[in-house]
Symmetry: C2
Subunit: 304 residues, 2 copies
């Protein structure tokens, strides 16, 4: 695999990485990228006017993400991360074909890889995945895990209320949160899973509670961290990693610019919980400006 990867013309090590999601959850991926590669410049897009993606169809979610990528293409990204499990499950493969010259990755393959590694030497490990309805229905995690380990038992559990509960700002000690987690995790505890994948970028918010409920023998995989490592590897292969900065010099850190389709103030208020640090007010993009027929993917397809 020494073939040189195609690249957007004009891209340099200083070009931004696009991280996109339906809302706030993808900021956990930004946090992991900032930790792994503090020098990188990041454009974050949260499609808050049309969230959530997790209970919508493949056609709809693919159309939304296509619009977002088209909208941000003039920024000449060196890489695009679909930092949303539903978006990865439903749209990654189609959009990779459509945007031929653009490097795009998701969160599912890195999560599946980490799950298989965590399962270790066990002959037939049991791997549980909690995710949105759409991610579960897509069978993307099953495929990604079984491609790496033929002999695994994979249990997928749709957990559709966790995103609304988290977006509502509820904390882990709320009785309703405890009941929802209990209801959702019980069948996976009964099946004695060895590994549990948090198959949605929102879920790391409740990681501690989930680990408590699953018990100390279960490895809990947060796909955000794995995704950041995957992005670093992809950039390195393409010689597009931004040179590391001196971590004592905060001015030398990369920038983060955010875009949202709904209320910027709400995003700034709630986003810091996901990012782990205060977040600047994002720029508002009207959903009308994302109209995809005005900028069809074909018109922007890049030379390979």
């Amino acid at each position: 695999m020494q073939a040189r990867m195609p690249t957007v013309p004009g891209v340099t090590t200083h070009s931004p990485i696009i991280v996109l999601d339906s809302g706030l959850g993808g900021l956990t991926v930004v946090r992991a990228i900032q930790k792994a590669m503090p020098a990188e410049n990041i454009l974050y897009f949260g499609d808050t006017a049309r969230l959530p993606y997790g209970n919508k169809s493949a056609g709809t979610v693919t159309a939304f993400i296509r619009q977002i990528i088209n909208h941000l293409m003039p920024q000449r990204p060196k890489h695009v991360v679909i930092a949303c499990n539903t978006g990865t499950a439903l749209a990654l493969s189609a959009l990779r074909s459509e945007f031929g010259g653009l490097s795009i990755s998701g969160v599912i393959d890195p999560g599946a890889k980490a799950a298989v590694t965590a399962a270790g030497a066990k002959a037939v490990p049991a791997i549980g995945v909690i995710a949105t309805e759409a991610t579960v229905r897509s069978k993307a995690y099953e495929r990604a895990i079984l491609r790496r380990r033929n002999h695994a038992r994979v249990y997928l559990k749709p957990t559709p209320l966790l995103v609304p509960i988290i977006e509502d700002g509820r904390m882990a000690n709320d009785p309703l949160v405890r009941m929802a987690l209990g209801q959702y995790l019980q069948p996976l505890i009964e099946r004695k899973v060895d590994v549990l994948v948090l198959g949605c970028t929102h879920y790391p918010i409740f990681r501690d509670s989930i680990e408590d409920l699953m018990g100390p023998t279960v490895a809990v995989i947060d796909s955000a961290e794995q995704c950041a490592e995957d992005v670093a590897r992809r950039l390195k292969v393409r010689h597009l990693l931004k040179p590391p900065v001196d971590p004592t010099d905060t001015n030398a850190h990369g920038w983060l610019r955010c875009f949202v389709t709904d209320d910027p103030a709400r995003f700034a208020r709630l986003g810091s919980r996901f990012l782990g640090t205060p977040i600047e007010q994002p720029t508002w993009v009207s959903p009308d400006d994302l109209y995809s027929a005005a900028t069809p993917a074909a018109a922007l397809r890049l030379p390979a």
Copy 2:
């Protein structure tokens, strides 16, 4: 008030009523209209690709509903019902001004009127309203109630998880549903409200449980029924009520045609719970076809 109301040109008693909502909830209004006026023809639009509206901003929700009305205008509606409390709270007033010649109504004023009537002769009745975050924040219910009764105590309680819980298909006997209702209604029970308004067209699904929790002295108001009566009154004033049909002749009933922006099959599967009768597969409308700049409200503004 004998002034003749302006009307869309070409409208007759047989013209359809448009009922629109973010998703499924507005079907409770369709059900009430079908019960009150079985002869009427109805076009229902569920914006399932972009639901929910209840946690989004006024600008976003107004833009979405403007697009939907523009899209359906060629059907020459005799009336438009925003069958969504959030949509009514955030967009009704602006869209009434924009679409000058079009008759548009919502669900909040009818609900507020019924609440005041139910409060009866009590000197200072306590009226509770449960609704989405956006509806509560808009203060639309407070204004509508206090316009009719100066001396009322109005308690608004945002209940943002009820729509996701209902859209998830959970039933009233689910422990999580009981806990959520308990958490949300407790402060209203403590304030000894005389009347409780279900300020979201989804909530009638849990009406029995809510009545049980509130106790027999609290009047529970379902704005769907009140909204249907309001529509009937508006059509009657304009001499646009369709002549009543013989209820024994089912062929003489009005038709219902549905449109959605996401998966039609899912809508048909879940919709009958709201409509109370089986529902035909709706027609899919791409969110791209709703691009409002292509058909600005101004271009379609009707002669008064």
